[in-house]
């Protein structure tokens, strides 16, 4: 009898899509601005 093998799950980081990354990056940038670490940003 074959030993039960659970399907290989990819690590969370590689399961995230572009949308999720965009949210993470966007919110992280905002956090850095709010904490005063990033800024003033020239434009």
């Amino acid at each position: 009898m074959e030993a039960h093998q659970s399907p290989v799950r990819k690590p969370l980081v590689s399961r995230l899509g572009e949308d999720e990354w965009a949210m993470i990056v966007g919110l992280l940038l905002i956090l850095l601005v709010v904490l005063g670490i990033l800024g003033p940003i020239p434009w």
Partner: protein, 349 residues
């Protein structure tokens, strides 16, 4: 390809660094060009042109694929949209009462419906049609980006619509304040007209500034009310696409599929908008977040220019241009009437 040899990985890392450096240099150049050119000739246009030129040179040198590794167009677009949420402050929108919200809802619905109908009559490709409808009815480039995410549009379609938005905004920014002054419109009425009609936020502010402080304020708030509808429209488009347009290829959609196809970065946009509305950000912070958004969109449009295919653009043809112009005229007239009814008559003041 796919070799894990250390020297191969080293070469790949070097190409990635070179790609990042190129992207930063092009973004800096875009920023400078946008600063010295007329206001409505916005940075997306310069970014796409620089990306196009750099892509052409890299292609001729045979290094386009290697040098394009850092050009993550979709990621930059979606990050920019999440950051855009900070510019949508519901409390500010309501500072002119419900009028701004009413105008935004009526205008966006009517102009979207008209452009959708006309695009159908002229048999436009449906994804392009969705992008154009979102752009002309809501707020130009940002709405087109959100719609592109919802219906999985091609890059060429987004580039085409972006060019239309920017080229149309330039004459409108100059003509509308002139017409308003010639007909003696009140600053409130004129501001609501500019904000409800001109598709790019910079051109809205530009037109309002030509008409005075009150016009700028009303124009910006009305535009902001329209921007707030980006999330709603992106959600409805994604829902429509999965339940109607893609049924033939993927079968009856499950709730899971709808969720998978939902442009989830819109949730980020809404969350940031809520944070801005509850007053979490100071004015300086909002200014910084807006600057970050401009940088994100700049990086994205450099990528769009880099990957632009002229044969694909030619395939799109001139019919979308007709639809866009007709929808813009419709938008102008409807916005004129609505802004008069809501902002131009003394009984509302």
């Amino acid at each position: 390809m796919g070799s894990s040899h250390p020297s191969s990985r080293g070469t790949q890392a070097l190409w990635l660094i070179a790609s990042l450096v190129l992207l930063v240099v092009l973004a800096g150049a875009t920023n400078r060009l946008a600063a010295i050119s007329p206001k409505a000739l916005e940075y997306p246009l310069w970014a796409a042109l620089l990306g196009l030129a750099a892509g052409g040179i890299a292609s001729a040198a045979g290094v386009k694929e290697q040098l394009g590794r850092a050009f993550r167009t979709e990621l930059f677009l979606k990050t920019g949209l999440v950051l855009l949420g900070a510019a949508v402050n519901l409390r500010e929108i309501l500072s002119v009462g419900a009028r701004g919200v009413i105008q935004a809802i009526v205008l966006v619905s009517a102009v979207f419906a008209f452009a959708w109908w006309l695009g159908g009559q002229l048999q436009l490709e449906k994804r392009l049609r969705a992008l154009m409808c979102a752009a002309v009815s809501i707020c130009g480039v940002s709405a087109a980006i959100a719609a592109a995410g919802a219906v999985l549009a091609r890059r060429e379609q987004l580039a085409y619509v972006t060019a239309l938005v920017i080229v149309t905004a330039l004459p409108m920014m100059v003509l509308m304040p002139w017409i308003a002054a010639a007909t003696g419109m009140s600053p409130e009425w004129a501001g609501a007209w500019f904000g409800g009609n001109i598709d790019t936020t910079a051109a809205v502010v530009g037109a309002g500034a030509m008409y005075g402080e009150v016009a700028v304020k009303v124009a910006s708030i009305v535009k902001m009310a329209q921007n707030a509808l980006i999330g709603v429209v992106a959600f409805l488009l994604a829902l429509y696409w999965v339940t109607k347009e893609e049924v033939a290829t993927v079968g009856h959609p499950s709730a899971r599929l709808i969720w998978e196809r939902f442009p989830k970065f819109v949730l980020g946009f809404l969350a940031v908008s809520v944070l801005a509305s509850v007053g979490l950000f100071t004015k300086t912070q909002v200014k910084d977040i807006n600057a970050l958004r401009n940088w994100a969109f700049t990086l994205a449009f450099i990528g769009i220019g880099w990957q632009l295919s002229f044969s694909e653009l030619r395939k799109i043809g001139l019919r979308p241009l007709l639809v866009y112009l007709a929808a813009t005229v419709f938008n102008t007239l409807l916005a004129l009437g609505l802004s008069w009814a809501l902002f131009g008559r003394s009984l509302w003041r």
